[in-house]
Each structure stands twice: as C-alpha cells, then as structure tokens.
Symmetry: C2
Subunit: 207 residues, 2 copies
C-alpha cells in the first residue's frame, strides 16, 4: 500500500500489528478515526496508554485490577471461601457475565502443558495453595478448558490440596470437548457452574 | 460483559466503538495489548492521537497530507496537468498501489446523492473547477463508483467543466481480471460489450 502521509502510514502499521487485523482493516479503522473529533481520538489514544501503564494484577487472585486487590476480592459480599480457578482474565469476564457465581477467582495464567514448556512453576499454583492454607477456603471450583492439559492441571492441584479437607469440584461438561470457555454461550456456562461435580465422580465418569 | 477493572473496561469500550469491532474482538485486542511492553502500547496510543491531531488535508486535492500540500501534489515528477477524480482517500491509496498513474488526484469526499442529502456543495467540486481554470489541466479522469450517483456526479462536473477544452475520461468498466463472464451482472456485461476495445490496443496496453 502506498500512502501519501507518514502519519497515516504509521497509524495503519500500528493497527495492523494487532491480532486478526490486516492492512486493509487497519486502514478502514484509521480512516474511521480520521472522521472523528480530534478530542475523541486523543481520548482513545490516552485510554489505551493509560490502560497498559496503570493496570495492575490482583496480589491475591492475579485477576486484572485497578489497585493492589481486584474489585472481586475486595468485595465483602462475595464468598471469599469459594475459589473458582480459571486459566485467564477472559474466563473471569465470561463467568462474571453469567451473574451466577458469587465467590472469588484464582487466575492460573494457563494450564500445565509440558509440550509448551509450561510447568506448575509458571502458573499461579503456589499462591492458590497458600490461599487454601491461610483463608478458610471451603470449595475450589475448577473452570479450566476441557482438554488433557486442563485435566492434568486439575489432577496436579487436587493432589497438592488433598491434605486439606475442602470440597473440590469442576464445572460440568456442558461445554464441548476442545471448546474454549470464552466462546461458550452464557446459558451453557451458567448451567455448568450450577451443575458442578465433585472431582472424584468426574474422574470416575470420564475414565 | 462484567469487568473487574475500570481501566480494562474503558479500553474495551473504546475499541468496541470502532466499525466492525464487537465487544469480544475488542477484549481480544485489549488483552493482546496487555501482554505487550508498556512502552510499545504507549507508542501505539501516541501514534493514534498524533495521527488525528497532526494530519492535514492537502489544500489542493483534499488528500491526506503531513503538511499543507500532499506528497503527490508536491512531487514535481507527477503530471500536474492530469487529474484523477476519486471519492475518498482509500481510492487514492488503491490507485497508487497499482503504480500505473503518474498524475495528481482530486478527492471529492463522496458522490452527489440527493437521497443522502449530499449535493454538489458538500463535495470538493468548486475547488476542482478552480484547479481546471488556474492550472493548465489537460485531462480529467473520473474514477468514481459505477453507480447512478457516480454517473450523476460525472455528468454534473462535466457540464461545469465543458467551457474548457480538456479531455474528460472515466476508468473503463468491464469484467474484472480473473472474473468469470457468467457471474458478471448484466449491466457490466452490456457496458463491456458497448465499450469493446480493438484487440491491438488491449494487447498493447496489457503487455
């Protein structure tokens, strides 16, 4: 593509670096911004910069936060003794959107996957165990991807937690094998939270 | 969608205001940016703000420019006496990418469309006529959409320019390269029959 303005070209190139955005889409977005009020576009630019530089990760659950502790952990109306273990922030947003869960989260940052070089040490498993020991945790709900890596992670954490007498469950398999949490519709996701199963019965059923 | 961070939510909402970007795509883009270096994301934000606040429109052809005159109008190697009239900046970029045109442009900003409330006064027609009168323009090439509105615009401008003895042409309409005859619409096929070219000139041009 040939541009007659370096400013335009730079902006298009920046947008085209985003995932799933090609040059033509980037150009469309930039030309759209060009039609907006200058103040609005500057606001857009500032919001992006600010988001990256000021966002924090909750010291407790590793969810995104505006301060040291995320709004979910800081909310005294939420059951601190119930922890839903998820892979990433997107999963927290997906579960929150169902409005069916009143506990707290723990964002692992992925699942154990030796082939990708992700072992337990790369994930927030240590801090989860610490929470179980320190807080009066009564239940851990696993909401991980229904994959072998997800199952491995559940199994690993379950072994670590077993000395403590708490309830360990997984969300029910209303979600198709190989499907990703964020693409599940809210109804399915809500049902799978309501119908969560004890891990023993889950393991017994699936193997 | 429920977010646990206002910073994240604001950023997602800003992205979701872009055309063709829904909430889920916006979230994906924001989470991608969250994984990038802070400096890179700030650079991204600054490039966007700067683009909107500093970009100018060429006083001559209304194309985007970094200064008062765009790089195409300022280029003495380009034939200033040949003007290609287009609807928008995107068309300039498309034609420039062919590397087949060595004249200058005139960006109308749309086509005459009374139903959409766009009359000749909303378009850069006045400045085009001025260029024809002032500069030694020899040819005007219309590269507008092949629609009734596009044809109306060509007709309107042609009437205005007629006192001046210059060549007025349009880009040819016909079957696209790689296009199949049976899928072409009747209008295009009829036009391409009417405007058939001698094989010698076609072969001479295409090689």
């Amino acid at each position: 593509m040939q541009f007659s303005s370096a400013l335009l070209e730079n902006a298009v190139n920046e947008f085209a670096r985003l995932p799933g955005i090609g040059k033509k889409t980037a150009l469309r977005l930039v030309l759209h911004l060009l039609k907006q009020e200058t103040a609005d576009v500057q606001h857009f630019g500032e919001i992006i910069s600010k988001m990256r530089s000021e966002i924090k990760f909750c010291h407790r659950c590793a969810n995104v936060a505006d301060g040291d502790i995320c709004s979910i952990c800081a909310n005294s109306m939420r059951k601190q003794e119930v922890i839903c273990v998820v892979e990433n922030i997107r999963d927290v947003i997906a579960i929150e959107s169902t409005q069916q869960f009143n506990g707290t989260y723990h964002v692992l940052g992925g699942v154990i996957s030796p082939l990708d070089g992700i072992g337990p040490d790369q994930l927030k498993i240590e801090s989860l165990i610490n929470r179980v020991q320190k807080d009066q945790v009564q239940e851990i709900i696993f909401a991980l991807s229904p994959t072998i890596q997800g199952d491995t992670t559940i199994f690993y954490i379950q072994k670590k937690i077993q000395p403590h007498t708490i309830r360990i469950t997984t969300i029910s398999r209303g979600i198709a094998f190989g499907g990703e949490l964020e693409y599940a519709d809210e109804m399915t996701l809500a049902r799978s939270l309501q119908n969560r199963l004890p891990v023993e019965s889950y393991v017994a059923n699936s193997h």
